[in-house]
Each structure stands twice: as structure tokens, then as C-alpha cells.
């Protein structure tokens, strides 16, 4: 068992423990930059280049199982990086890099399936892989395959994740929990009737539509991957020093995810998504942004789910429809590693 001086699995689960580890260990690596640097702990960096921003992001991908309903590790590696760029407001990626670490004995056929899947995701996002790196490690030295992708893009305006003020509304672009539940039920071999599939998808087109409709009134964006919607709302609340009231019944959740969540005793609000975005929007632009999202095929189930308030800064309050409580930030306990 990992003691306090050892890294534990919970330190990778996207919640409070992970943030503390990054702050303690890695933040000293950063320094002052003209733009958004490491210390902002945002989805990526934004460096000034003339009158534009160069947005850069990087992500490593491990997932078990490697192939799951609705996607695979290759699709995640492309979408995750495209989405991190998009969450900074950079919806026109210039290119991606791809570094692969493969375990000795990994089937070549699986590798080619992963490559094909990456290619299709790149086509959907309108981007290509422009450079890469390949390493092979001995049996047992790495778990199957690890992919690292980085992405870069130019943007005129960047969107950060600390822009909320009281009165702003929170929008999610679709149902939550699909990816995490698809992976978890697959891993535990639970058969849920209905179609439980990962939502993994590139979001740059959807986000472009929202930004065109909302412009400067879109003041915060983040994709709810590890730690789910709960983690994103905590980050929004803590960085902007506001409270966030989440209206539980209005959060879109499919019946399949709801059923699996009840069965496993896991809250869909802390479950990972790979094809959804959370937006903070000034109240006057909410209807415009919502209409633009719903007109896009990926945003048909977009919904307003919450409001920023002045009370209880840094906290997320869940209105369950029957009462209210604080929404606990994921500690990484109930969730196996899923992305």
C-alpha cells in the first residue's frame, strides 16, 4: 500500500489528490510566461505570438480495456488533445504529435487498428499527425501501450477556466458519464440492456459553433474528463472564487448510464467523459449559445445545468430536486483508471 510518501492510484484520478500532487511536485517547473503557463493548471498553455496566441497541450493516454464500446485508445488520444486545444478557444488545430510506448509482445494487428482509429479521428477533427516517436519496452515494463499526443493551434482569443462571476450560467453540451460507464461496465463485464457507448469525439467543431454564437460571453470552458462534471465545476468555482449551484435533475444522463450508476453505486457526476464540454456563459448570451449547440449534431442534448452564485465561494452545491447538499469533489476512490 502506498504511504503518504508514495504516489497512489488516487493521485491520477483527476480529483483533489491529483491536484495537490501536481501543485506540490510539478508546479515549480513553471515560470512566468506572456499568456497562460503551467501555474494556471488550465487545459493547455497559450503563448503570445504577434497578435495571436499559440496554444499548446500534451496528454498521455492509458486505458483498460484498450478497445471498448464506442472507441479505443487511439481515438481517445486524438480527441483528448484536440479537445484540450478547443477548451482554450483554439478550434483550428495546426497539427498533432504522437509518441508511442509499446510493450513487447503487443499484437501488431491491434496496433494497426489503433492507427486506423487515430486516422479517422484526425479526419473528423480536420487535423493530421505531423511528427512522432516510437519506443518498445520489455514484457511487464509497461501495460500494453501508452500513447502521448501533443497539439498546437493559433487563436485570436483564448478562453480560460477562471472567468465565472455570480449570475453566469453553466451549460453542458450533452449527456454525462457515457465514456466512464461504458469502460467500467465493459471492464466488469456487466451487461446493461440498451446501448452503453463511450462518447469519445473531437469537439472543436461544436465549440467553434458555441464561440461563434457567444463570442466574449463564453467566459470559461473545460472538458469533463477524469473526475467528471463534479471536478470541472469545482475548478471553475475555486479558480473564479464563486459558488456554483448545480441543478441535478437538469443534468442530462442517459437511462443506461443512470441504471449502471445505480447498480455500481457510482455518481455519474464524477464519471469521465471524452466527448462533452462544460461552458460558463454570461446570462445574456445563454439562449444564443444553447441554440447554437443544439443545432450541432454533437450538442443536441445540451442543457443549462447550473448558476454561479456569490455564496460559498469555491464550493459546488447540488440541488437534487429533493434537497440540497455540497457536491464532494472526486477523491478518485470509486473509479478505476479509465483515461
Amino acid at each position: 500500500m502506498a504511504g503518504p510518501d508514495r504516489v497512489a492510484l488516487k493521485h491520477g484520478a483527476g480529483g483533489r489528490a491529483m491536484r495537490a500532487l501536481i501543485e506540490d511536485v510539478f508546479l515549480p517547473l513553471g515560470g512566468p510566461v506572456d499568456g497562460v503557463g503551467l501555474s494556471a493548471m488550465d487545459d493547455g498553455a497559450a503563448l503570445r505570438v504577434g497578435d495571436q496566441w499559440l496554444v499548446v497541450t500534451t496528454d498521455s493516454h492509458v486505458v483498460q480495456p484498450i478497445f471498448f464500446p464506442g472507441g479505443d485508445i487511439g481515438r481517445i488520444s486524438v480527441c483528448g488533445t484536440v479537445n484540450d486545444l478547443a477548451m482554450m478557444g483554439a478550434t483550428e488545430p495546426l497539427g498533432l504529435t504522437c509518441a508511442v510506448v509499446i510493450e513487447e509482445g503487443f499484437p501488431r494487428e491491434a496496433l494497426e487498428r489503433i492507427r486506423d482509429s487515430m486516422k479517422r479521428a484526425c479526419e473528423e477533427a480536420g487535423v493530421t499527425i505531423v511528427t512522432g516517436d516510437t519506443k518498445v519496452m520489455g514484457k511487464g515494463e509497461v501495460d500494453g501501450i501508452v500513447l502521448n499526443t501533443a497539439g498546437f493551434a493559433l487563436a485570436r482569443r483564448i478562453v480560460r477556466d477562471d472567468g465565472l462571476r455570480p449570475g453566469d450560467r453553466i451549460i453542458v453540451t450533452g449527456t454525462v458519464g457515457d465514456h466512464g460507464m461504458a469502460v467500467m461496465t465493459r471492464r466488469r463485464d456487466l451487461q446493461i440492456e440498451g446501448d452503453l457507448r463511450s462518447d469519445v469525439a473531437p469537439l472543436n467543431g461544436l465549440v467553434r459553433a458555441a464561440l461563434q454564437a457567444g463570442g466574449e460571453a463564453v467566459v470559461a470552458m473545460k472538458d469533463p474528463t477524469r473526475g467528471g462534471l463534479a471536478s470541472v465545476l469545482h475548478e471553475f468555482a475555486q479558480k473564479a472564487k464563486v459558488g456554483v449551484v448545480l441543478d441535478g435533475p437538469s443534468v442530462p444522463v442517459t437511462h443506461e448510464v443512470q441504471a449502471a450508476a445505480e447498480m455500481l453505486g457510482i455518481d455519474p457526476l464524477v464519471v469521465a467523459n471524452e466527448g462533452k464540454a462544460v461552458l460558463g456563459v454570461r446570462p445574456e448570451a445563454v439562449d444564443r449559445v444553447l441554440a447554437a449547440l443544439r443545432a450541432h449534431p454533437q450538442g443536441r442534448r445540451a442543457a443549462v445545468v447550473g448558476t454561479a452564485v456569490a455564496e460559498r465561494p469555491g464550493n459546488v452545491i447540488l440541488d437534487t430536486g429533493l434537497g440540497r447538499r455540497l457536491l464532494a469533489e472526486s477523491d478518485g476512490e470509486p473509479l478505476p483508471r479509465i483515461c
Partner: protein, 379 residues
């Protein structure tokens, strides 16, 4: 495992009905005209429903809904854990439910015993423990049995059906009605009415609480575990308190009958008898433990083995543990928030006290659902 997905909302979670019940509760509490009105539930699953759905924020300010000794893991006493740890140290293969692994003994938990190389296995049912015994015919397999009436019936049924020679039971089963008597007798609690656990009442029937209500003057309402079940039961309980009627009401009639599940009761009392024992952090509870009857000595680990707890005994002075309020929390005198350790030194991944260990423990539940139950003032 296949699951039929329901297309409509669960009717027990209807917000409009919840609002009506919350308003009725407000009216009934106001009509009593004093503050606070103290009621207690004795079940971790009720606390789960209350905390998960944020119901405390919908309760009237003058109503205090306290969680009593409602978690079997929390009330399993230190010497009982020591017996299980000692059995593992003596070479037995100890099977038990998951939460029991982290429960601290005087020096070690079963989880520690496992880390030391002891044979400890988590099972999801007593039948699974019997399967373990069949798989390891050359070993002694001991089921460290915890839980209230409901799980005790399962243990009894398995013993009555016959078990392999190498299987025995270390019982830390507890009997809830007995603990309610003890808590009601504590002068500092001032509990005016009780919500009784629906699943236990499925076995015992609701009539079992009638003598308790008469003796203590406090009404008892049997409740289910959906949020509307809890709200409806509270409305009924406060109404009975207002009318000074120390009666028993069954607000879970879809599952609970007056006389309960009699074949299950027969099984329970064929195998178990009540004895006096300590409940962790609370008190010595007359008739609070369920021990195996003498005729079951051959499967009673306490009778079958000379359990030498000196192997694991010796109290360790733990500075943090001295500050833990679990005992007061389980007696309904304090709530998790009153504890200085809550959410700081004491967290689910590093529990100091028993209430933070089990998913049915008050501290663990509050922590899981955000920690602060009263959010009436926001928004």
C-alpha cells in the same frame, strides 16, 4: 447480470411529492411548538438516503434528525476484531465482508493481518465463505460474521443447510432493538421518536417495536430507503409525537408486515441467541449480541478454537484516536461535523475511527456527500 432499464423516473424520487411532504413536515413540527424536536434513525441506509439527496436542507429548522447506532461495522467491538486477527495469525483462513478489513482492532485490522501474510478473504455472502471452505478442505475457514438481523438470518440459513467440517463462524452479529433500548435510556439523548430500519423489519415484523414504544413513550415508524419513504415516515413520526401517541406505524407496507418473515425468524432463533455484549463506542448492550446457541458449538469459532488474543493485544496509545468522536456520534450526541478530525486527519482513505471506515458509517456518508448537510441559505 442483466438489468431492465426503466424509461420513467423512479416514483419515489418525485420532486413535487417531496416538496409536499417537506411542507407537511414543516407544519407538523410547527404544531408541536418546541425546538428542537429530536428524532433518531438507526440505519446507515437511511443516512445514505438523507445525505445523498440533500434532504437535511429540506427538513424544518426545528427538527433534528440524528443517526443512531445504525452501522454493524461501526459497532463491532475492538476485542471482536482482535479475535478475527488472532485467528488469521493462528493460520485460519478468515472470510469477511469488505468493510470489516479496515476496521481497527487494538493494534491491527484484518487488512493489516493480510499484509502480514495472514489468509484473509473478502466475500459478498456467507455462502461464498462456505465455497471457500470447500475449495480449501485442508484449512480451517472462519467466517467473521457481522451485520444485524438481516444478515444474521443468512448466516443461520447457511448453517442449517449444512456446512463442511472445516467451516466455522465467528459471530459479531448484533440485534438492533436491544441497542434502541440502550440509546433511549441515555439521559442526554432526549430522543422523542424513532425511525426503524425497513429491511430489519421485513424479518422481525413491525409489532416487535410495540413494547419498546410503550415502555419509552417514544413512537416508532418503520421506513423504507427511498428519499420519499424517509420524508413520509418523518411526517408520520412527528404527527405521532405531536399527538403524544407512543405507537408503531408501518410506512413501508409494500415490504413489511405485522409479524414479519416467520420462517426467517425461526431460522434466526434456531441458530442464535441474544447475549449481552459491548457495542463499540456506545455501551454494554443487554441482549445486543447474537451468539450461536450451545448446540451449534461445533461451528462456533469461539468454542472450537482457543483464540489467543494476546497474540495481537496490547493497547496502543494513539493521539489521534483519543480525539475521535465516533462513540458520541453513534449514540446520537454529536454529529460528524463536531469532530475536529472530520475530513482532515480522518478521511475514507485514512480513517481514524470506525464511522469513517464503513460505507454505512455516519462520517463516511457525510464525507461522501460533501460534508455539510445544511445549505438552506444559498441561492
Amino acid at each position: 447480470m442483466a438489468l431492465q432499464v426503466e424509461a420513467q423516473e423512479l416514483k419515489f424520487r418525485d420532486p413535487a411529492r417531496a416538496r409536499e411532504l417537506a411542507q407537511a413536515l414543516e407544519r407538523e413540527v410547527k404544531a408541536i411548538g418546541r425546538s428542537p424536536v429530536n428524532v433518531m434513525h438507526v440505519c446507515g441506509s437511511h443516512e445514505q438516503a438523507i445525505a445523498r439527496f440533500g434532504l437535511r436542507a429540506a427538513f424544518p429548522r426545528d427538527l433534528s434528525v440524528i443517526m443512531g447506532p445504525g452501522c454493524p461495522v461501526c459497532v463491532t467491538d475492538t476485542p471482536e476484531v482482535d479475535e478475527a486477527v488472532a485467528l488469521a495469525a493462528m493460520g485460519a483462513r478468515v472470510c469477511t465482508y469488505g468493510d470489516m478489513l479496515k476496521l481497527p482492532g487494538a493494534q491491527k485490522s484484518l487488512g493489516d493481518a493480510q499484509a502480514d501474510g495472514g489468509k484473509v478473504e473478502v466475500v459478498y455472502s456467507v455462502s461464498q465463505a462456505v465455497e471457500v471452505a470447500k475449495r480449501h478442505p485442508l484449512e480451517q475457514v472462519v467466517f467473521f460474521a457481522s451485520g444485524f438481523e438481516t444478515t444474521a438470518v443468512a448466516t443461520a440459513a447457511v448453517l442449517l443447510a449444512g456446512v463442511p467440517d472445516n467451516f466455522s463462524v465467528l459471530s459479531s452479529h448484533k440485534y438492533v432493538p436491544a441497542a434502541m433500548e440502550v440509546v433511549s435510556a441515555m439521559p442526554e439523548t432526549h430522543i422523542e421518536g424513532y425511525i426503524a430500519a425497513g429491511h430489519a423489519a421485513i424479518i422481525t415484523g413491525w409489532e416487535i417495536f410495540v413494547p419498546f414504544a410503550r415502555k419509552t413513550g417514544a413512537p416508532v415508524v418503520v421506513a423504507g430507503f427511498e428519499p420519499l419513504d424517509v420524508l413520509a415516515a418523518l411526517v408520520k413520526l412527528v404527527e405521532l409525537i405531536k399527538e403524544r401517541r407512543p405507537e408503531v406505524a408501518n410506512m413501508y407496507p409494500r415490504c413489511v408486515t405485522r409479524e414479519g418473515n416467520q420462517p426467517a425468524q425461526e431460522k434466526l432463533w434456531k441458530v442464535f441467541q441474544t447475549t449481552t455484549g459491548d457495542w463499540r463506542g456506545i455501551a454494554r448492550v443487554p441482549s445486543g449480541n447474537l451468539d450461536l446457541r450451545p448446540e451449534w458449538a461445533h461451528v462456533d469459532a469461539r468454542k472450537r478454537f482457543r483464540i489467543d488474543t494476546s497474540l495481537v493485544g496490547g493497547k496502543v496509545e494513539n493521539e489521534l484516536a483519543k480525539q475521535c468522536l465516533c462513540g458520541d456520534i453513534m449514540s446520537g450526541l454529536k454529529n460528524p461535523h463536531d469532530c475536529k478530525l472530520f475530513g482532515k486527519e480522518c478521511r475514507p482513505d485514512s480513517p481514524v475511527g470506525a464511522c469513517m471506515v464503513s460505507s454505512e458509517g455516519a462520517c463516511r456518508i457525510w464525507h461522501q456527500y460533501g460534508g455539510i448537510p445544511d445549505l438552506r441559505e444559498v441561492g
